[in-house]
């Protein structure tokens, strides 16, 4: 609550941006230092080059690798599985989350299953998934979606519970049409919960996809990693791992941008 006297607020235009995004220089520096130390450790051969590859060599191997059409196809395969898992998890998780949040009956019916599957390490389903849908894209999407759906589901259900009853009464008092209530009150209220579920869901989806590929789907970045391990192409193995980390980071970063756009009305994090 601010007790500012009226007129003390500098507000000029409706297209306001948040505070100027300042570059977190200390974090940048710490990453640079870590990379330099890593590079130095490898160059000084303090660690066997089989166990740890220098960042510079990972970069070279990565660029080389990206030149190969077959590698690009595997990356595309993984990305497709990742995107499909996330989309299914988002729609399914949000749908069930809304249902559970809204209807006490649905909650009582679905809760036992949700709790059980949420607690279950989804990896144990892998043999069953292989039996049902076989190796390949299907298995990756199945496991990725299963894993990513739960954080979305629980977050959205919590969001429904956190919707302000006061604002819903307000809408009723002004006779708001249902569509306006949804657009003006329900969606903005749920958005932060959906986004935070999505943020967790992203890394879960990637984990699910990779597990399926490592289990022997014969395609994708996970499969590539297995291949490089067998053929002892350690530099490429590291490059593939870096690629996965980069993809997940990029997706999480995109969600962060979305979050900031949706959360313009919130106080700037101090």
């Amino acid at each position: 609550m601010s007790d500012d006297p009226p007129g003390s607020i500098d507000v000029a235009s409706p297209t306001r941006t948040g505070s100027p995004s300042s570059v977190p220089w200390i974090s940048v520096a710490s990453v640079v230092v870590a990379l330099l130390v890593w590079e130095g450790v490898c160059r000084a051969e303090l660690v066997s080059r089989v166990l740890l590859v220098a960042p510079s060599r990972i970069a070279v191997a990565g660029v080389e690798m990206l030149g190969l059409a077959s590698v690009r196809a595997d990356i595309g395969h993984t990305l497709a599985a990742f995107a499909a898992s996330l989309a299914i998890a988002l729609v399914g998780g949000a749908g069930v989350g809304l249902l559970i949040g809204w209807s006490p009956v649905a909650r009582q019916v679905l809760q036992p299953f949700v709790v059980t599957f949420h607690a279950l390490p989804k990896v144990v389903l892998m043999p069953l998934i292989l039996l049902w849908v076989g190796f390949g894209l299907g298995a990756s999407v199945f496991l990725g979606a299963m894993m990513a759906a739960f954080p979305v589901l629980t977050s959205v259900a919590a969001g429904v519970g956190a919707l302000e009853a006061d604002l819903l009464v307000l809408a009723r008092a002004f006779g708001a049409p249902r569509r306006l209530t949804v657009r003006a009150i329900v969606l903005p209220g749920l958005a932060p919960f959906l986004v935070s579920g999505l943020r967790v869901g992203i890394s879960y989806a990637m984990v699910g996809v990779l597990i399926a590929e490592l289990a022997g789907s014969g395609r994708g970045v996970g499969h590539l990693m297995l291949l490089f391990l067998e053929t002892f192409e350690i530099e490429r193995l590291f490059a593939a791992m870096t690629l996965v980390a980069g993809l997940t980071l990029a997706a999480t970063g995109a969600v962060g941008v979305l979050e900031r756009r949706l959360g313009r009305w919130r106080p700037d994090p101090a």
Binding site: I9, L167, A173, A176, P177
Partner: protein
């Protein structure tokens, strides 16, 4: 300025709201029903500002919510004049934190499907002294500014009945006085608007109301109906202030004790 905002006075106006034998009990799980209103009758005419005072927890908010049609009475009825539109100013401003001041103020207009709600809302906010803050987020506003947005949102739908639920209770005395003046000015421009003002503040009631209803303890019935037909501004001179103090004392006596209407 006459005691009433219309030239003929509210006696000639038809009732905009009529409440007849209103009974309300809240159902409580595992407990007996909670009787809140015990058969309430009242009438508000166009152009009249009716204040409702009564003990805390006595059912005043319940009464307003019944008049606004937000809840259904256990017995009795609320009759609004044909086509009459109520608008509620809630005790807490209930602004959407993700909408700017002007977007919040425009919400009621949006609900009606009105054209160009934002410019209209901005204009009224300007009238209320918020010209500089139309695009501010609610968190950037002071409590008094939020209450102005709350008030603007209700006035913008051009209601026939304005329901005010202790709208100034959370404000400091100075801001409250300023909002009283603003409210009276807005009402002067809307001479047929009926207002029901729930308040704990007897000074406020004496300063604003054309008539005051004093409610009994729960379950509430009307204990007294006190006209306060004084011209505005009521504290302009010594004689006015004396009159005002008299009405205030009478209200206090009718309420039993001043503590009976103590602020929350």
């Amino acid at each position: 300025m006459s005691a009433e905002r219309r030239d003929e006075g509210p006696a000639g106006e038809a009732a905009v709201v009529r409440v007849e034998g209103l009974v309300h009990r809240y159902a409580r799980r595992g407990l007996e029903d909670h009787p809140v209103l015990g058969g309430l009758d009242l009438e508000v005419r166009g152009g009249e500002l009716l204040a409702v005072v009564g003990p805390s927890g006595g059912g005043k908010t319940t009464l307003l919510h019944l008049v606004a049609g937000l809840i259904v009475p256990t017995a009795g009825r609320v009759v609004l004049a044909p086509e009459a539109r109520p608008a509620m100013v809630f005790q807490r401003p209930r602004l959407m934190p993700w909408r700017t001041a002007v977007e919040n103020a425009a919400f009621g207009l949006e609900c009606l499907g009105a054209a160009a709600p934002l410019p209209k809302a901005a204009a009224l906010l300007g009238e209320l002294g918020l010209a500089d803050a139309v695009h501010a987020w609610p968190r950037e506003l002071s409590e008094g500014m939020r209450q102005r947005v709350n008030l603007a949102r209700a006035l913008l739908v051009q209601p026939d009945v304005l329901l005010l639920d202790e709208p100034f209770a959370a404000l400091d005395a100075l801001t409250r006085r300023r909002l009283h003046r603003d409210l009276l000015a807005l009402l002067r421009d809307r001479p047929r608007l009926a207002v029901v003002l729930v308040s704990h503040d007897l000074d406020e009631v004496a300063a604003l109301a054309d008539r005051a209803l004093v409610l009994s303890d729960r379950p509430a019935v009307v204990r007294a109906d006190l006209p306060i037909a004084l011209p505005h501004p009521r504290d302009a001179d010594a004689a006015g202030r004396l009159e005002l103090a008299g009405r205030r004392e009478e209200l206090e006596r009718l309420l039993g004790s001043p503590e009976g209407a103590a602020p929350e």
